[in-house]
């Protein structure tokens, strides 16, 4: 049974224009229906201009999970907000690259690389 823990990290400075959501575990057929409502609601009510998904502890995602991430990307884009992905593990990055996700969602190794763009 796959499990995914989502942890919304506290802002270091309250004026930061972004929030980091830490992913721990896996996202696949086994748990996607459980994860979808929480993450969809979070994104739909999210108000800051930038959102960062920190995937350093994210171990596996299948194609359905990738499809879900794409839908979150477009949901944010529709509200003029931007999604960034931070530090995915190699096997997760391989999956992203294979389907072309990296062509639409920017992926970075360091948080500074993202925040320098704000």
């Amino acid at each position: 049974m796959s499990q995914l823990d989502l942890n919304v990290l506290d802002k270091q400075i309250s004026s930061d224009p972004y929030v980091i959501v830490e992913f721990k575990g896996s996202l696949d057929k086994a748990n996607i229906d459980d994860v979808k409502p929480a993450l969809t609601n979070f994104v739909s009510s999210y108000t800051d201009p930038y959102l960062i998904f920190d995937l350093r502890y994210f171990e596996y995602v299948n194609s359905e999970g990738i499809g879900f991430l794409v839908s979150l990307f477009y949901a944010l884009e529709a509200k003029k907000q931007k999604l960034f992905i931070l530090k995915p593990q190699p096997q997760v990055l391989d999956g992203f690259e294979a389907v072309g996700l990296t062509k639409i969602i920017p992926i970075y190794e360091l948080l500074d690389e993202i925040t320098n763009q704000f």
Partner: protein
């Protein structure tokens, strides 16, 4: 049954019995005894008749109604709710019967609905199977085997081979997830491939234009990884455009080695315009070379320990059996290797495997539609 009722009726019945016994204690003479006894006997019979009628209407008739309705339920006949409201055992029995039969009706309607949906899924699966190639055109210099095996009635994997003028086009696709939603998108792409090919006879153009139509029509969570191939028999190479699909595995006959090439590009329906993302590339071919295409249902197939089959094992099998004479032999060997790995583990995703063996001579391909599309993993 009577003893267990514990109602006021029970005590009334006892009172009757006591009253009937009292007159026998006061008879004085034989005549009086006979007259009295005859009268008492008549009275006794009348009272017993009345008592029987009372018992019948009070209990037996009600029990008959319950038994009749229970018999109807058991026999699968029409039944009606029992309308007893009394706060006694019959009321309780009626309430129990009505509650159980009400739930039975609900369950029955759910089962009927599931049967209806199952029938519709079977029809949809049949329609979907009908769009898969009935036969593969003879592609000059290639021996081709294409097989797909959905994990449910309807699958999200598909492939097609078409001949247009002197060019041959082949695609393999895999929609996110599986089941009916994936099947609907697979049908859309399969139809678009046929419809648009005449206007866009180029592996990159067809990918870009299918995506252009597909993207606004599908949910943002859905996409289809695809590989489009194009071959002209005047050439000793094959061209392809990758749309986020699995790797291309190539067996090189000269050196008996395997090359694994990322498909590249981006999956269909993931971005509005993919014209600047996808590319047209070439694969040079020599006699005996073989191309293996697959969907992720193969590399993500699991064994009993939850381990993935993976790209490495698939590549190893391609390397081991790539020298075999025909594509069918290679296909069977890979299929057997996969079956040994998964053993009796349930298939959780659609699987498609295509083997293209370049033989530098005309090869008759298989034409039996069942043989083409039905992949029985032992």
């Amino acid at each position: 049954m009577f003893v267990f009722t514990r109602s006021k009726t029970f005590y009334k019945f006892l009172s009757f019995q006591v009253l009937l016994s009292i007159p026998f204690l006061y008879v004085a003479t034989i005549d009086e005894f006979f007259i009295s006894n005859t009268l008492l006997l008549v009275l006794y019979l009348v009272l017993n008749l009345l008592l029987s009628l009372y018992l019948y209407f009070q209990y037996v008739s009600k029990l008959d109604v319950v038994i009749d309705q229970v018999a109807n339920v058991i026999a699968g006949k029409a039944f009606v709710p029992i309308n007893y409201k009394s706060p006694n055992e019959f009321g309780l029995l009626a309430y129990f019967f009505n509650d159980v039969t009400s739930n039975l009706k609900k369950i029955s309607s759910v089962i009927k609905e599931e049967e209806r949906m199952s029938e519709e899924l079977s029809v949809a699966a049949s329609i979907q199977r009908s769009v898969l190639p009935k036969s593969i055109p003879n592609i000059p210099n290639f021996d081709v085997v294409c097989k797909t095996r959905p994990s449910e009635e309807i699958g999200g994997d598909s492939f097609a081979v078409r001949e247009l003028n002197d060019d041959y086009f082949l695609y393999i696709g895999d929609v996110t997830g599986h089941g009916a939603p994936a099947g609907l998108i697979m049908m859309m792409v399969n139809t678009l491939f046929d419809v648009l090919l005449a206007d866009f006879p180029d592996c990159k153009d067809i990918a870009v234009n299918i995506n252009h139509i597909l993207k606004p029509r599908v949910n943002a969570t859905m996409f289809m990884t695809t590989l489009f191939f194009q071959y002209n028999s005047n050439n000793k190479y094959i061209e392809y455009t990758g749309c986020g699909h699995e790797h291309i595995i190539i067996y090189r006959a000269d050196e008996a080695v395997v090359e694994v090439i990322p498909a590249g590009g981006i999956a269909l329906a993931m971005a509005d315009d993919i014209s600047s993302i996808v590319e047209k590339k070439k694969i040079q071919l020599s006699k005996g070379d073989m191309i293996c295409l697959y969907s992720d249902g193969i590399t993500e197939a699991m064994n009993e320990n939850g381990e993935l089959f993976g790209l490495d094992q698939l590549s190893d099998l391609v390397k081991k059996f790539g020298h075999l004479e025909s594509s069918m032999e290679v296909f069977s060997s890979i299929s057997n290797g996969l079956s040994k790995f998964t053993n009796k583990t349930v298939q959780i995703d659609d699987m498609t495997l295509i083997i293209l063996k370049y033989n530098d001579s005309l090869v008759e391909n298989l034409k039996d539609s069942q043989f083409l599309t039905e992949w029985n993993v032992k």
